[in-house]
Symmetry: C2
């Protein structure tokens, strides 16, 4: 955009199709992308907030996506920002709003553990752009690239079981940033324009998805793929930004993954209900065992490719670097692309830094998951930071699924009092388990926190007589062991008892 350039933004970046609100087609119009870049290059944007070197705000939303909003606004797309937040308030009012735009919402602990299946209302959300609002009746899916016959399939046909065989799969999806807060607390990392959300343990959820295996669509609708096809690219109707370039959201998975029928699904139903708008209505991909980012929402095009997608999400994001790579030397080619998720787990109850009054046993609950084609075999919990491990009984775990987590619960014998470190690790069906410490798998982009999840618990063992006595005394004085750092107002020991003890065992030697 030269200064004399006279652009009608509304017209330049108009919505593409009738009944598709909030969808701008970028990939077919290089001149439109160039114009957007010229406009973005001339604009100043609010810097990314610093939340890694300082404590997180205790607001809700926690972080405000000023920059991403401004990207949209300067291109005349503010209505997308507004519609997205309206959708959050309608569909996800009760999440922890970690980032307001693009929306990143985390499931709270109670909702996370409500059962094997996470309600649609409570399932976490990690979006990369605004929420488009698409009428299913006018929606059609394009399939092209290295296929025998490129096609456009109306939604009605896709959902017609006489045209395409359907499948229902129980799938755990998680952001590759799940438990990122542990890495941030250990060492800050890349900020990223989009904000690497400081997720806790709630960026994971499980649902039953209904749809058509992509393999069937390629075969039935397109007559199969060409031999050169090695990757399937998914393009979503949301708008994505990277270093002042603009894109439709695009990712890809290998053909070998798609070959396994139910592992790459084109889904329109989630837990028996139509996909919520914020989850990709009318159509999304569900890729089992991979990071959530591959399960493209608002899918409108599948491209059969010889190589992985060149889209920035696939090529420049979700890279796993060795720990000595960072701002001084990271490139797109020296981290590997994160596709499959490793085995990992989390303790959801009790909360970190809680005081637990108990009778010699402490109950812990959490989730355990493995991606990449593995399922959860065994969960083990340690009450000493990772030396002694107690295995969870099968009867205290939810049922096995090929592509879903298991929730677990265990009562751990606990004699010791004071601060104890509990941690959990899971073994999967390929006998993988988790690295012991956060540092063991720390990486610059703060992805895949697969190390043993740890919590600090202040143990108060009421079966010990001295402790029982103190608890009674606290109660008599209207005080509280749970308010741990608050000093009791009463004397901790009568003078005569103290002196008797002191005189029996004096502070200094006698000679």
């Amino acid at each position: 955009m030269t200064d004399t350039e006279n652009i009608d933004i509304k017209k330049a970046f108009a919505e593409e199709k009738l009944g598709w609100r909030g969808y701008v087609e970028w990939e077919k119009y290089p001149e439109k992308k160039e114009l957007a870049t010229r406009i973005l290059n001339k604009s100043k944007f609010t810097p990314i907030p610093e939340f890694q070197f300082v404590p997180l705000p205790d607001t809700n939303p926690v972080l405000i996506g000023h920059r991403w909003k401004e990207y949209h606004e300067v291109l005349g797309l503010k209505h997308i920002v507004d519609f997205s937040w309206e959708t959050v308030q309608k569909e996800k009012p009760d999440l922890i709003h970690l980032l307001d735009f693009p929306y990143n919402g985390e499931t709270t602990r109670e909702q996370l553990m409500e059962g094997k299946i996470t309600s649609n209302k409570y399932h976490f959300i990690r979006n990369h752009g605004g929420v488009p609002d698409i009428d299913e009746d006018v929606f059609e899916l394009e399939v092209g690239g290295l296929v025998k016959n490129p096609v456009k399939i109306p939604m009605k046909d896709l959902k017609d079981p006489s045209k395409f065989p359907q499948a229902e799969v129980t799938v755990t999806l998680q952001c590759s940033g799940t438990r990122r807060i542990e890495q941030i607390r250990e060492y800050p990392g890349d900020g990223d324009e989009l904000i690497n959300a400081p997720w806790g343990e709630g960026a994971i959820g499980t649902a039953v998805y209904r749809g058509v295996p992509l393999k069937k669509v390629l075969k039935i609708a397109c007559g199969g793929i060409l031999p050169e096809c090695k990757h399937l690219e998914f393009i979503g109707a949301d708008t994505y930004f990277k270093k002042n370039n603009v894109f439709n959201y695009a990712v890809s998975v290998p053909w070998r993954k798609v070959r396994a029928n139910e592992e790459v699904l084109l889904a329109w139903e989630m837990n028996g209900e139509p996909l919520p708008k914020i989850h990709g209505y009318p159509l999304r991909v569900v890729v089992t065992g991979h990071i959530g980012a591959r399960s493209c929402k608002w899918l409108y095009r599948v491209n059969a490719l010889a190589e992985p997608s060149m889209g920035p999400v696939q090529r420049q994001e979700y890279l796993y670097f060795t720990p000595q790579v960072g701002k001084q030397n990271s490139k797109y080619s020296n981290g590997f692309s994160i596709q499959q998720m490793p085995v990992s787990s989390a303790i959801i109850f009790p909360l970190d830094k809680k005081v637990i009054v108990h009778d010699g046993k402490i109950t812990l609950k959490g989730w355990a998951y493995s991606g990449g084609g593995n399922w959860v075999q065994r969960v083990e919990v340690s009450n000493d930071g990772g030396s002694v491990w107690y295995a969870v009984n099968e009867e205290n775990m939810t049922q096995k699924h090929y592509h879903a987590w298991r929730l677990w619960s265990i009562d751990i014998p606990t004699d010791a009092e004071g601060w104890l470190e509990f941690c959990v690790r899971t073994w999967d069906s390929s006998n993988n388990t988790e690295p012991t410490f956060v540092r063991s798998a720390w990486n610059w982009d703060l992805h895949v926190t697969s190390s043993c999840h740890r919590i600090k618990i202040y143990s108060v063992n009421r079966t010990r007589p001295e402790t029982a006595k103190r608890l009674k005394l606290l109660e008599e004085h209207g005080e509280d062991i749970y308010n741990l750092s608050h000093p009791p107002e009463f004397s901790l020991e009568p003078l005569d008892e103290y002196l008797a003890q002191y005189r029996k065992y004096p502070r200094e030697p006698e000679d």
Copy 2:
């Protein structure tokens, strides 16, 4: 105080002596102490601020001693609070004001490392009460208890070298809470009415004190101690509170410590100047190798005792508990009394979480100290969290003293980039060294953080070509490696280089 009690507080808690402002004598008047307790029991006080489970305020003063001020105010002693703060502003304007009352001030890093001797202006302060304002001309020291002849010694006589032989000793004093913040960050502990200040590495300092060895005073002025005497109690003119009881500040040290001439000094001079008011003017005790709390300020009475002081500071505070003792079971008799300080050290430069751009070597500086009659023999620094250790050369350490720290400096060969963990440990003259991790010596009252001090450093090694190239690129774009979490605005790799690399080493296997 019954509701009908009609007390003239000004009269009840009047200052004791002409020329001694802010000094109330409590220990000789049980009825005055009882009255104070009745008043305190009937009053409501602001609770201790919660600063352990939440981030520390970034204000200065950091914490406000509402409760301790209110204790003074309700007894009509507000002028002590006011005078103390005036004194801080006059004598210690440049410290980090960790707690405004009783005043706890920490030395900043630059001032801490300015040399072997800390200037009076910059030496840390940990007070337990307000600052009294005493005229030296009317001051006299009482010495009593289990001595042959109890005496009162005017200051003029005490300072007369023809009456008492003088000594000058270089002494490091530290609060037993030095580096407490590390314990708090690991696990919160006891809050304490007085507030256990969240000290960093600056609650330590070194000065040359001039005075008279207490041993000489006891011998020359009192004709010696009685055989039953095992402890010497020091009483200060400041007012101390504990569980609604009121005291003069009182602590004690064993006679065996006093026997070693220059190890317990009655001092009036600090670095060649009269003691600053905030350091105990006109007279204080200096006990070498012990926690600072034993070096009683505004000393007005020495008591020769058969047992340690019954004062709360000696009996109920500065206790060292085993890690499984806490609010549920701590007593005054199940922690041992902290007298002597162990070997410990700290890295002062660079700061924790700093980005360091270097040419293969990183310079670290800090202090090392051992109490309890030991001196510093060797300092070792690790650049890998505590496996490989580099010893500091003798020429890079300040001179040895029996009772003082050594400052040190080292250039550590550092090849690796990214986040590294440096730590320091010291070996003393009895071959003691430090526990490796904070947890190794964590204790409920958060005293004596003697574990290896650790910092996280983001290493950027400019001798590596890829790094040099990136630094140049950042500079060309007006960006900054030091602003670590801020993402660069430019592309990290040209597309052709990326593709060449990708095609040489594809993401997935070929078969």
